[in-house]
Symmetry: C3
Subunit: 480 residues, 3 copies
C-alpha cells in the first residue's frame, strides 16, 4: 500500500463558502438547509447522452476526471505541463502519455494550482462526497486516492443511471447538432428507464456558411430529415422539421453560439443568394456574418411558433491558440472571451420578438460589464428575456456574487433563470449545483442581515433560484 503518512485531511466544512459574518451565515445556513436537497434541474449542458443510453461503467479515474476536462488541464498547461504528458489525444495520432496513473500523479503534484478556484471546489466535492476521499490530494496521496476511486467506479452504484438517480436529477438537457439523429435519446426512451434526459437543438454549424465543415453539417441535416436542401427555402423547412423532431423527444430549447450577438433580418432574396453562394463554396466571412444575424431572427421567429426556448451564448473567441486546435482539436482550454455588445446588436431581434407571449430568450455573457449596463435593463423591460446565470469562467464563487449584485437591483430575481451547470463533466453536476445553492443562499442571507428583505421573502427566493425559476424558464412541466 502506498504511504500517505503526513497527508492532511480533506474536510468539507458544512458552512463553507458562506460569509464569515455570523448574522449573514446564520441566515444562509437556514436557507441552504431548505434548498440543498431539492431536485436538480439541468436545462443546459454538454453531457454525452450515450453515457446514459449505454449505462456502461465509467473508465478509470484519469479518463473519467482529467483528460476530458479542459477546466483541469488548461491550468496545468498554463504552468508549463505539456498536453502530451497529460494524455490529451492528438488529432494526427502522435503518441501521448498513456499511463493513467502517471497522469494522475502529475495532476496531483500540481493540485495546489486550483486553490481559490471553483474547479478546486468542485473537485474536492467530488472526491469527498462521491468517492469518499478523506485526504487532501497531493503528491503523497495520489496513488491511494486513485485506487480508491478506481475501486468505486467498478461497483454498480457508480453506473451513470444509478448516479443520475443518486444526484437527484429531475431533468438533464444535452446539446445536439441540428443534424443529429438523436439515436441516444431514442435509446434512452426505449429503454424504459424513468430518467428524464432531453436534447437541445444547436444549429450553429449549419449557419456558418463560410466554414469548411458547413457542407458536412448540411449533409447530415439532409440525411436526418430525408430532404434535399438545395435552397434557402428548403433549409428553413428542414430546420422547422428537425425542431419538431427534437421537441418530440422532449427538447424545450435551442442554443446558439456566436462571437457577437448581432441580429438583422435579410429579405428572402438576399438570404437565398447567400445560401446559394454557400452551396457553391464561395460564401465569405461577411456573408456568414449577415447570414448568422438573419438566422438568429429566424430562430426567434420559429420559437414564437413552436415554443422552444432560445438560448444565446455569445462572446468567445474560440481556438485562440492555433497550435492547440491544430494538434489537439477544439474545446481544449484555449477559448478566450472578447468584449460583447447587446444593446445595439439585439435591437432588431428584440423589436421583432421581444414582447411575443410565446417567446423566451435566455441571454448569457462572458463579459460581466454588460450585467448592470445592458443585460439587466434589457431583461427588466422585454417580456421575453431572461438572464442565464454566470457562465463558464464566471460560474464561480465571486462570479456568482458579482452577477447577483449587478443584476438583481435592475432586473429583479424573476427575470433570471436560476442555476445552469453547463458541464460536460457528469460527476461534477451535484458539486456545481451545491456551490450555486450555497452562493445564492449567502446572497439572500446578506439581504436579510441588512434588513432589505425578511426571512419570509428570502425563503421563497431561495427556492425560486434553486428550482422553480429554472423549471419555469425552460418550460419543464413535471418532474419525470
Amino acid at each position: 500500500m502506498h504511504s500517505t503518512s503526513g497527508a492532511e485531511p480533506l474536510v468539507l466544512h458544512p458552512e463553507r463558502f458562506f460569509d464569515a459574518d455570523p448574522a449573514i451565515r446564520r441566515v444562509a445556513v437556514a436557507l441552504y438547509e431548505e434548498t440543498h436537497a431539492l431536485p436538480i434541474i439541468s436545462p443546459h449542458g454538454h453531457v454525452d447522452p450515450w453515457l446514459l443510453a449505454n449505462n456502461e461503467p465509467f473508465p478509470e479515474p484519469t479518463a473519467l476526471l482529467l483528460t476530458p476536462d479542459h477546466y483541469i488541464f488548461r491550468m496545468l498547461y498554463s504552468q508549463g505541463v505539456s498536453m502530451e504528458s497529460l494524455g490529451i489525444p492528438t488529432r494526427d495520432g502522435t503518441p501521448v502519455e498513456t499511463d493513467a496513473r502517471r497522469i494522475w500523479q502529475r495532476f496531483a503534484e500540481h493540485y495546489h494550482l486550483f486553490r481559490g478556484t471553483p474547479t478546486g471546489v468542485w473537485f474536492d466535492h467530488e472526491l469527498h462526497e462521491l468517492f469518499g476521499v478523506r485526504l487532501k490530494l497531493g503528491a503523497s496521496t495520489a496513488t491511494a486516492i486513485y485506487d480508491q476511486i478506481a475501486e468505486r467506479l467498478m461497483s454498480a452504484e457508480f453506473r451513470p443511471r444509478a448516479l443520475f438517480d443518486r444526484f437527484n436529477i429531475e431533468v438533464l438537457a444535452t446539446t445536439d447538432a441540428a443534424g443529429d439523429t438523436l439515436d441516444a435519446h431514442r435509446q434512452i426512451r426505449a429503454s424504459g428507464w424513468a430518467g428524464q434526459v432531453v436534447p437541445t437543438f444547436r444549429p450553429d454549424a449549419v449557419f456558418r456558411i463560410a466554414t469548411p465543415v458547413w457542407r458536412d453539417a448540411i449533409t447530415a441535416l439532409e440525411q436526418v430529415t430525408g430532404r434535399s436542401i438545395g435552397s434557402y427555402a428548403a433549409f428553413i423547412d428542414a430546420l422547422v422539421q428537425q425542431r419538431a423532431f427534437f421537441r418530440s423527444l422532449g427538447a424545450t430549447a435551442t442554443d446558439h453560439a456566436v462571437v457577437a450577438p448581432y441580429t438583422e433580418r435579410l429579405d428572402t432574396a438576399r438570404a437565398e443568394a447567400l445560401f446559394a453562394a454557400a452551396l457553391q463554396g464561395r460564401a465569405t466571412a461577411a456573408d456568414q456574418q449577415a447570414f448568422e444575424a438573419h438566422m438568429l431572427m429566424e430562430m426567434a421567429r420559429m420559437s414564437c411558433h413552436d415554443g422552444l426556448v432560445m438560448q444565446l451564448h455569445p462572446g468567445s473567441f474560440r481556438d485562440h491558440h492555433t497550435h492547440i486546435v491544430d494538434r489537439f482539436g477544439q474545446d481544449k482550454g484555449a477559448d478566450i472571451p472578447v468584449a460583447t455588445e447587446y444593446t445595439r446588436n439585439l435591437h432588431a431581434l428584440l423589436n421583432a420578438y421581444g414582447a411575443h407571449p410565446n417567446f423566451t430568450l435566455v441571454l448569457f455573457t462572458l463579459d460581466e460589464t454588460t450585467y448592470a449596463r445592458e443585460l439587466a435593463p434589457i431583461a427588466g423591460h422585454y417580456p421575453a428575456v431572461r438572464l442565464g446565470p454566470p457562465w463558464w469562467f464566471h460560474d464561480s464563487l465571486e462570479g456568482m456574487r458579482r452577477f447577483r449584485e449587478q443584476v438583481t437591483e435592475t432586473a429583479g430575481l424573476w427575470n433570471t433563470t436560476g442555476f445552469i451547470d453547463d458541464t460536460r463533466a457528469f460527476c461534477s453536476i451535484p458539486a456545481r449545483h451545491d456551490l450555486a445553492r450555497r452562493m445564492d443562499a449567502n446572497y439572500l442571507g446578506g439581504l436579510v442581515a441588512r434588513h432589505q428583505i425578511d426571512m419570509s421573502d428570502a425563503r421563497q427566493m431561495a427556492r425560486a433560484l434553486a428550482y422553480d425559476l429554472g423549471k419555469r424558464a425552460y418550460r419543464f412541466t413535471t418532474g419525470s
Copy 2:
C-alpha cells in the same frame, strides 16, 4: 372593511442597509445619526414645477405612485403584465385600464418582483414613512393600503408645498427645455412661498438638428426670446439670452443628454452651414453628431462666462423598443444603456475649458466600467470636473457601493458632488436621500472599521456627502 388577516407587518429596521458586521454597523449608525436630518439639496431631477406652482392635492394612489413611474411599470411589463392593464395612456387614445383600484391590486400582486431592488426600498419607505402603512403590500393588503393612502392624500398636510417643507428640501431644481417660458417658476416666485425651486437649462432638443421635433423646439426658443433665429449666430445669441433668463429665476446649472459625449469645435463657417442645412430640413445624422459635439463646446464656453454648472448625462439608447415609444411615448422604461467612452470624447472640451476657474462640469455615466478607468482619473486631474453620483439603474445600494469603491481611491471625495435624486417621483425624494445617506455612512463606516480613516475624518466626510458637496458643486449659496 377589506380583510388583511394573515398579512405580514411592514417593518423598516432602524439599522437597515448597514453592513451586518457590528464594527462597521456601529460606525455607520453613528454617522447616519449626524446626517439623516440634514436638509435635502436636490440639484437635478424631473419634478414638474407646476406641482409646486399650483399646489393642488395629489390624485389618488395609482395616479400618484404607479402610472407615472417607469421604474415601477417596466418591471411588471418585463414579467408579462401589459402596459394597457396598468393604465399607461396610449398616444392615440386607445382605451386602457382606468380602474385605479384594479391597477393597484395588479401591482400589489406583483410586488414581490421588487424584492432586492432599490425601487422596492423606496416604495416601502414611502408607504411606511409618508403614508403610515404597517402591513407588507400584497394581494391581500392592497385595498386597505390603497384606502389608507387615498385618505391621507386628501389632507392639507399632503399638499405638495406642505410635503416640500416636511421633506426638509432646501432647494429643488427642475429640468426645463431651452424654449420654456418658466411660467411655473415665475408663479412660484410670485406666490410668496419661501420654497426654493429653480429651473435647469436643458437645450438638447435645439441641438438635435436632424430630428423632426427640432423645428418646433427652435420656434419655442424664438417665441420665448422674442428673436428670429435665422442663423447660427442668432441661435447662439438666443441661447445666451435664455441662459440669462434661467439664471434670473435661480438656475445654477445646465443639463445635456447625448448618446456619446463626443466634443469637437467646428469653425464658425461650418457651424453656420450645418445650421442652415437644418433650417432647410436637410441635416443628416452625421451633421447632427458634429453639431452636438460643437454645441457641447459652446455650452462649456458659455458656462465659463455665466457660471452655470454644466451637467452631462450620456450613454442611454433611448426608446430601444419601437413599439413602446410608438404606442405610449417616451420615458416608458425602454431606454437601454450602451458602453460609453470619455477619455477621447471629452478631450477637446477638457483641453479648452477643463482648467477654467469659473467652469464646473458634472459628469454622469450609465457605464460603471468608466468609474475607475476614466472618470476618476479625469476628475482627479481637471479642476473643473466633478463626478455626479451613481445614476439611474446604478442609483441603488450596490451601485452606490461600487461607485464609492471605484471612484474614491483615485478622485477622493471632494471631486464628487454628493447625492442627486434625479427623480420625477416627488414623494420618493426623501426615500432616495435617506438610502444614499445610509449607504454613504456605511461606506465610511467600513473605512473607519478597517482603520483607514478615523471618526473625526469620517464625520466631516459624511456631512460633505450628505449636504456640503452638493450645495457647493451646484453653487447654491444659502438655504432659502
Copy 3:
C-alpha cells in the same frame, strides 16, 4: 516652536486595512505576521539609479516628497491649487513658488483630500514609520512635521543606501531607455556596495518612428552601441547588442508602454521600408502603429533567445491635458486610461511565442474589465503569460481586492507575479509593499474564513504573493 496644540494623533492601527469581521481579521493577522518582514522584491519601478549611485543626502521634505510625485500634486491641482503654487518647475523656466515651507503648508492644508486614497495610506505610513511623526498632518502641524522630517534627512541613516538596507530591499529594478549608457548602474557595481540594483530595457522611444524625439533616441542608441543605424537590420542588431549589455548589468526584463497592445509581424521588406521612411522623417502615425506592433513581436522573439522577461503596460492616453505637458512636461498627473483590448490584439504574439519555454510575458492593465474577461483566461492557458499586479490607479486597497477576486478563480495564484510597486518615490516603497501584503493576507483570510482553503494552503500562498512569485517570474536567482 510652532504650536501644534489641539492636533490629533497620527495612529497606524496594527490591524489596519484588514476586514472588520473577526474571523477574517484573525487569519489575516496571522498570515501578515509571516510575510511582513520578508525582503522586498521590486522588479519594476522608476527610482532614479543615480540616487543609489551617488548616495547623497535627500533634499528637504518638499523636494523629496511633494514636487516629484504626481500622485500628490494632481489631487491638489484637481481642486484648484495651481501647479505653480506647488513649485512644479516649468519647461520654459517661468518662475514658480520656490519657498519649500510654503508649499508644504499648502499641501498640509489640503491633506484631507487624500482621505480614503492609497496615496494617503502611503504618506501616513512614511510619516509614521520612516520619519517618526505622531501627529496628523494638517494646517496646524505642517511646520512641526516639516522640521521633524528635515532634521531626519540630515542624518547618515537617511542616505539612500542606508534606507535601501533598512527597507530590506533584496533587488530593485530601474527603468532605462534603450540608448542609456547605464553609467549609474556601472557606478553602483563599481562601488562595491552589496545592494542589488538592476536596469530594465525600455525601448519605447526608438519604436515611435513618427514622433519628433525618435531621431534623438536613435542617435543615443548609435552612440551607446558604437554602431551606425542606417537600416532596419542595423537597428535590430543594435537592440540585440544593447539587450546583452543590459543583461550584463543584471537586467532580467524589458518593458513596453503602448496605447493598444496590438501585435502583428511585418515582413522584413515592409519593416525596412518603414524604418527608411522614419529615417527620412516621413513616417506617419499609421506607420508607427504598424511598426510598434511589429517590434513587440520582435521583442518577444528576442526574449525567447536571451531570456529577458517582457513586460507590457498598455492603455494610457498620455498627456491628455495639452496645457500641462506644454508648460510642465510629461508625467504630471494628466495621463488618462482608455479601454483596452487584449484577446485580439495579442493574438499574433501569443500564437507565435505564447508557449515558448524560455519566454515570460507579464501583462498589466489600466482597464479592470479585462481581468476576468480576457487576462485571466489568457494567463490560465498560455504558458508564457503571467499577470502583473494592479497597476497605477488600481494599485490601491479596493483595486487589489478587485484584482484577486476577478483573476484568481480563472488564473489561480501562480499565474500572477506578486506585488510590484512601480514607483518613482523611493521612500514609499516599504509603504506600498506593506499595504499589498496586508491586502493579500486579507484576501487569503477571507478564503480561509469561508473554508475555501485551509491555513496550511494559505501560508504558502501568502508567502508566494509576498516574495516567491515575484522573484521567480522575474528570474532573480539569489538575494544579493
